[in-house]
Symmetry: C2
Subunit: 134 residues, 2 copies
């Protein structure tokens, strides 16, 4: 399948800001006080507001769409385990690694997000359809 091979990796990093949380809430309607209300959040396990868990999942999708396997990628299946909170100001590095090449131009990737302290905040897998080379 083109020049894709098992073990290929790609990644990109982004600082998560208040604006990201506000825009994500505008798209989805998810105004969970765990993300926006510091007084509420002070009473939770995490003590301060945390980012929506789906934001790092979106960073994974961006790495696949923009880098590996690249533009035109279509999602088929995705799993995510949320292992640690993402806080505003964290720099999240999303990475993907091809772990299986399948029929019908499909590939399976291991996906991971790590924060600036090296803590894995999200891990999972994705099954995607690879675009044909234009």
């Amino acid at each position: 399948m083109d020049d894709l091979r098992i073990g290929q990796t790609a990644q990109s990093s982004k600082r998560i800001t208040d604006v990201d949380l506000a825009l994500f809430a505008a798209v989805t309607g998810d105004f969970n006080p765990a993300h926006f209300d510091p007084v509420y959040a002070a009473g939770t396990h995490f003590k301060e507001p945390i980012a929506h868990g789906i934001i790092p999942v979106g960073l994974i999708s961006a790495v696949m769409a923009m880098k590996l396997p690249g533009p035109g990628t279509v999602f088929i299946q995705q799993t995510a385990n949320f292992l640690a909170p993402v806080k505003v100001g964290d720099v999240i590095t999303a990475s993907v690694e091809i772990i299986e090449l399948l029929e019908k131009r499909r590939i399976r990737l291991r996906t991971k997000c790590v924060n600036q302290q090296g803590v894995t905040v999200l891990e999972g897998e994705a099954l995607v359809s690879v675009p044909k080379k234009g």
Copy 2:
């Protein structure tokens, strides 16, 4: 666990607009031409631009955070199978149903997104931690 029980459901609906795609791309950096480039999209299986697959996943998270089990919900695990494309203008109904009550204030939900024609565009499961009643 409070008054949660197996079989409880909640849902909400939203029309997906160009603005949603633009905001989601701004948060994640996912400018896949499959979402934004009508000329590119005309050459794909779907013939026209489709929404980011993670947007309906975000709608699911919003139903959980805003309705069931409600504000303060924390994500632990999530799976999604992308079954059909979401197009701009589609009205997506995201629904969740409690399928298992677990220890440590955790519950498992079946999750689904259906478009205005009754086509299931996404299905999966979520494992979440239920907030304590304030």
